[in-house]
């Protein structure tokens, strides 16, 4: 290529870059800003963060079951007060713990090997201080999706009821409320830790439960008064307030 050719190519390149920059900057201004949340993680992953967050919760669930992938929802959709025992939840397990699929009529040697290599002889649950092993996965879960309230409340449950570290539980709730201001479920969690089954501070707990009732009320006004979940949350917080009022009357 001679000198003229090089100059022409250079000029074409400059013109192309000029056009691209102009076109892109014009379109960037016109583009709707659809990315929710803040930080590089939100920009990079967008809505995929919710899936990543759920995957981390799932991993924490498998840790709870001593490394077994249960493939059923133990942590998600939790109901702390329904079945909670010393461990996470009270639930029945099959005797043989066959998680490798449906029964087969014929002998499958690969399945036989897998069931022996990849399944423990004894099913154990994490309990007490060991439950701290789940915290990194919940931390990753709420980092991936800070608006995953279920992950926040489950993390609080582990800190409060399993590890029995009130300071840790309050730190979790405080961080959760920072990301989700006035969330009624997190306010209830805070109230329960402070109330501590009647052994804690009544005034601060009452404040948290009242804030939860008020927040749930505002949510009901926003989304409609028939939302079962929010109604339950409001009733739950109100039940605590009623209990505290009864205790106060007795004292």
């Amino acid at each position: 290529m001679n000198a003229v050719g090089r100059v022409l190519v250079t000029l074409c390149g400059i013109a192309l870059v000029w056009c691209l920059v102009g076109f892109c900057s014009r379109d960037v201004e016109r583009m709707p800003q659809v990315v929710k949340g803040e930080g590089a993680l939100a920009v990079a992953f967008g809505d995929a963060r919710e899936t990543i967050s759920q995957a981390c919760v799932h991993k924490a669930d498998s840790y709870f079951h001593g490394g077994i992938d249960m493939e059923c929802d133990h942590l998600g959709g939790h109901h702390h007060d329904d079945n909670c025992k010393d461990g996470f939840h009270e639930h029945d397990h099959d005797e043989d713990h066959d998680h490798d699929g449906a029964e087969h009529d014929f002998f499958d040697p690969w399945r036989w090997i897998n069931s022996h290599v990849r399944a423990p002889d004894v099913h154990r649950h994490l309990g007490g201080g060991e439950a701290v092993e789940m915290m990194p996965w919940f931390w990753a879960s709420v980092k991936a999706d800070p608006h995953n309230i279920e992950a926040w409340t489950t993390t609080w449950y582990i800190a409060n009821n399993m590890i029995k570290d009130k300071g840790l539980a309050l730190r979790v709730v405080a961080e959760g409320l920072e990301k989700n201001p006035d969330d009624p479920e997190l306010l209830i969690c805070r109230g329960r830790t402070i109330y501590d089954n009647g052994r804690g501070e009544f005034a601060a707990a009452r404040e948290a439960f009242s804030a939860a009732v008020a927040s749930a009320g505002r949510m009901l006004q926003r989304v409609g008064s028939s939302d079962e979940h929010i109604l339950q949350i409001r009733d739950f917080a109100q039940a605590y307030l009623d209990e505290m009022a009864k205790r106060g009357a007795r004292q």
Partner: protein, 259 residues
């Protein structure tokens, strides 16, 4: 026999030198450190004492790195010799194609094993530094991992004689990683498919290399205890038989290859 041993030793030595001179291992160790050091410093919500996630991440890296090295070692056995035409002086020596294949394979496996041993030394050191003990399942886990590496080298070696380098590395990685994570669930997936696809998935399940058999990470991390001795022997036998089949096919491919 003595000649075979001497020839094999020479090929093993060559593979060792090649692998360790390439500095791949050190690059991988640095990458592993770059990932693990920040993770080990994390204290989620200020809670100390969690260590299983670190073990799990470290073992995942060891598995990933070992696969990377094994596939590379298998791939580099013959194609560079064909390209640079150094295969001719090699075959001009009194050595058959089959012996060359086995010798080179043993060399690549030995070199990959040395890298894996290095990774496990680092892993055990990291566990001990964090105050953990030497898990009772560790010897079995290491032996099965070594068997997996030998299998991965054989898969890559066969692929290198059939398809191009990039295709071989991609296909081998897809097959092994796919089987590692989803192999045991293939029958479940097959249930929900139409008959033709179901048959394809079941065939893959029957003949693909079951990398997941060698995975004892969960046992190590969660302290499940060692695998039953009989099962352990069956898994090793599976690896030996599978490797023998792959090497036979590779020998057949090399024998038919026009040089």
């Amino acid at each position: 026999m003595k000649l075979f041993a001497r020839q094999t030793c020479a090929l093993v030595k060559l593979s060792f030198i090649e692998l360790w001179r390439r500095n791949d291992i050190f690059a991988l160790v640095l990458l592993g450190l770059a990932l693990m050091v920040p993770l080990s410093m994390a204290t989620p919500f200020g809670a100390d004492g969690a260590s299983r996630y670190l073990d799990e991440m470290a073992l995942l890296l060891v598995w990933g790195f070992s696969l990377f090295i094994a596939l590379g070692a298998g791939q580099r056995l013959f194609p560079p010799e064909f390209e640079s035409r150094t295969i001719y002086p090699l075959l001009a020596k009194p050595i058959s194609r089959g012996r060359l294949l086995v010798g080179k394979y043993i060399g690549a496996v030995a070199a990959s094993w040395s890298a894996l041993a290095f990774f496990y030394v680092l892993f055990v050191a990291s566990v001990l530094v964090r105050g953990g003990g030497f898990p009772s399942e560790m010897p079995q886990a290491i032996v099965l991992h070594f068997a997996f590496v030998a299998l991965a080298v054989a898969v890559s070696l066969l692929g290198s004689l059939i398809v191009t380098a990039s295709a071989n590395l991609s296909l081998s990685a897809i097959v092994l990683v796919g089987m590692f994570f989803f192999g045991r669930r293939l029958p479940e997936y097959a249930e929900g498919l139409n008959p033709a696809l179901s048959w394809v998935v079941k065939t893959i399940y029957a003949i693909a290399p079951h990398a997941e058999f060698f995975d004892m990470r969960q046992r190590l991390v969660h302290g499940w205890g060692a695998v039953d001795g009989g099962v352990f022997v069956v898994v090793l036998a599976y690896a030996v038989v599978y490797i023998a089949i792959l090497l036979s096919l590779a020998s057949f491919a090399l024998g038919r290859k026009r040089l």
